[in-house]
C-alpha cells in the first residue's frame, strides 16, 4: 500500500486529535450533567410533602406552592439538559466541520507552493531550465522560490553557454576533420600535377610515360574524396529502418563473398536463424565492422565471423587478430569523428551504433591490445 503523503498525514492527525479531543470533552461534560440530573430526580420532594399531614390549610397551601415550584424546576431542568445537549452537539458539529474545512484549506494553501516547486523541479530534471515560479505563499516559501528561480536562471545561463560551446566545438572538430580528410587526397594530386608540369617543361616526350600512372593516382584520390563525402552523408542521413524478415546467414555469405578473394575470412554461421532488420543497414553494419577488422589485421591474419543463437537473440560476432584497441580508447570508439587510423573519418563505428539502435539491436566490443578485437551485434530473433 502506498504510504500517505505528509499533507494527508497532517490532516488525518489533526482530525483525530481535534475531533477526538472534542468528543472526549463532550462525553465528560454530559456524564457530569447526567449525575446532577439523577441526583435531583432522586430527591422525590413532592411525593414526600404530599404525604405530610399538615396542621392547617395555610401550611397546605405553602406546601402546595413548594411542590409546584419544585416540580416545575425539575421539568425545566429536564428541558435545559436536553437543550444544552442539542446545542452542544450542533455547535460541536459546526465547529468540527468549520475547523476541518479551514484547516484543509490552509493546508492546501500552504502546500500549493510545494507542489509548484515539485513540478518545477520535474521540469528542470527534464531539461527545461526556463521555468520560473511565481512570488506567492508564505515568506519562507517565497524565499525558497526565489532561490529556486535564481538557481534555474543560472542553470539556464550555463546550459546556453554549454550549448554554444558544444556547437562551436563540434564545428571546430568537423572543420578540422574535413580539412584533414580533404587535404590528404589533395596532396598526392598536387604532387602528381607538379610532376607532370615539370616533365612537360623539361621533357615533353617522356611526360607521356608517366601520364597513365598520374591519372590513376588522381582517379584514386578523387575516389577517396567521393567516399569521404559518402561517409558523411551516410552518417547524417540514417533513414528510418525499413525492417524485413530475412536469413542473416545468407545475407552474410553474400556480403562477404567479395572480401573472401583477398582476405582470409572464416565463417561459422547457423543457417536456421531469422531476423527483422533493414537489409541496407545490415549491409552497412557488417561492412563497416569487417573493414575495420581488415584494416587492423595483417594479410595472413584470419578474420572469424560467427552467427549463432543465444536465448531469444541472434548473435553476430566479427573477430580479428589484429592490433587491438587501447583500453582507454575503447570507451570512445563509437563516438563520431573518433579514429586512431591514419585513414578514415571516424564515422564508421558511430554509424554502426546508430544503425543498430535504429533497428533495436545492440553492438558491443571486446578488445585486447596486440591480440585483436571482437565486435558483437545482438539482434532480437524473429521467430514469426
Amino acid at each position: 500500500m502506498k504510504l500517505l503523503g505528509f499533507r494527508s498525514t497532517v490532516i488525518i492527525l489533526f482530525l483525530i486529535v481535534s475531533i477526538g479531543g472534542l468528543m472526549l470533552l463532550n462525553t465528560a461534560f454530559q456524564a457530569k450533567q447526567e449525575d446532577i440530573h439523577a441526583a435531583i430526580d432522586g430527591m422525590e420532594l413532592s411525593e414526600q410533602l404530599r404525604n405530610v399531614a399538615f396542621q392547617n390549610s395555610d401550611d397546605s397551601l405553602k406546601a402546595g406552592q413548594i411542590m409546584r415550584d419544585y416540580d416545575s424546576s425539575k421539568a425545566l431542568l429536564s428541558i435545559a439538559l436536553g437543550d444544552s445537549r442539542v446545542v452542544t452537539s450542533v455547535v460541536l458539529l459546526l465547529v468540527m466541520v468549520a475547523s476541518s474545512a479551514i484547516f484543509i484549506l490552509v493546508i492546501i494553501w500552504l502546500f500549493r507552493p510545494m507542489n509548484e516547486l515539485k513540478m518545477a523541479t520535474d521540469q528542470i530534471r527534464e531539461g527545461n531550465f526556463s521555468v520560473h515560479l511565481p512570488d506567492t505563499g508564505v515568506r519562507e516559501m517565497r524565499e525558497l522560490k526565489n532561490s529556486f528561480n535564481v538557481m534555474s536562471r543560472e542553470l539556464e545561463y550555463i546550459q546556453n553557454k554549454l550549448l554554444v560551446a558544444e556547437k562551436e566545438m563540434i564545428w571546430k572538430d568537423l572543420s578540422r576533420i574535413l580539412a584533414h580528410e580533404i587535404k590528404n587526397p589533395l596532396t598526392p594530386i598536387q604532387l602528381v600535377v607538379q610532376r607532370l608540369e615539370e616533365r612537360f617543361q623539361s621533357d615533353p616526350e617522356s611526360a607521356k610515360d608517366i601520364l597513365p600512372e598520374s591519372i590513376s593516382i588522381i582517379s584514386q584520390e578523387i575516389e577517396n574524396l567521393r567516399l569521404l563525402a559518402q561517409d558523411f552523408s551516410s552518417y547524417a542521413k540514417v533513414s528510418q529502418p525499413d525492417r524485413e524478415q530475412f536469413n542473416p546467414a545468407l545475407a552474410i555469405r553474400e556480403i562477404v563473398k567479395s572480401y573472401c578473394q583477398n582476405y582470409q575470412i572464416d565463417l561459422n554461421l547457423n543457417d536456421n536463424l531469422s531476423i527483422s532488420f533493414d537489409k541496407t543497414h545490415f549491409y552497412q553494419v557488417l561492412t563497416n565492422i569487417l573493414q575495420n577488422a581488415i584494416d587492423a589485421s595483417r594479410e595472413s591474419d584470419v578474420i572469424s565471423i560467427d552467427l549463432h543463437e543465444e536465448r531469444c537473440y541472434v548473435v553476430l560476432s566479427i573477430k580479428d587478430h589484429g592490433s587491438g584497441i587501447d583500453p582507454k580508447d575503447l570507451q570512445r570508439i563509437f563516438e563520431p569523428y573518433f579514429s586512431k587510423k591514419t585513414k578514415g573519418t571516424g564515422l564508421g563505428l558511430a554509424l554502426v551504433k546508430k544503425l543498430c539502435e535504429a533497428n533495436g539491436a545492440i553492438v558491443r566490443v571486446k578488445s585486447k591490445k596486440g591480440e585483436g578485437s571482437e565486435f558483437t551485434v545482438i539482434i532480437e530473433e524473429d521467430k514469426a
Partner: protein, 182 residues
Amino acid sequence: MLEALGAKVFSGIVAFSLLMFSSFEGNDPRFGPLSVTKSDSYLYLSGHLISAFDNDFPSIFSSGTPIPIHFMLNIRKGNRTLVQRRFTHTVTFDTAKGVYELNKGNGKDALLTRSVEEIIKEVSYYSFSIPYQQIWGEVSIRIQAELPKLRFDNADKDVDLMVLWKYKMPSVKSTANLLKAQ
C-alpha cells in the same frame, strides 16, 4: 415551503449531531397510520402518535404547568387549502393531589388519572371530526404535531419543548375520496 425545508434540514443536522456527539435520548416521535372514515357530513380522522412522550415528559407533565400538544390538520385539494385547523391536547397536573388532567378540547369531559402511563397513552391518541363537502372530491390530508414554547412558573423566559422531540415535527399524510360512498 422553504420554511418546511429549513426545518427538515435543521432537524437532520440535530439528529446527526446527537448521533455523533451525545447520549441524549429525547424522543423520536412519529405517527401511526391515519384512519380516515366519513359520515354524510363529517370526516373522522384518528390515529396515534408513537414514541413521542416516553422520555423526559413524565417530569414535564408533572410540573404543574399546563402542557399543550398541538395537532395541525391540513386538508388540500391540489394546491388549494380547504381546511386548516389546530387541535390541542392539554395535560395539567394537580401537584397537591397528584392527579393528571387531560383536556382534548373536543367538548368531552376531561380525563383524570394518577397514572402517567395512562396520560401518555391518552395524549398520544387523537381523534378529530371535520365537516366536509362532497364536491371536494379527492383530497390530501396531512396532520402534523408540534410542541410550543412555554413559560414555566418559576422561569423568566420561554423554553422550547420541541427540544424534547429533537426539533423534529412528526407528520402523517393520507388521501381520501369524498365523492365515494362509505
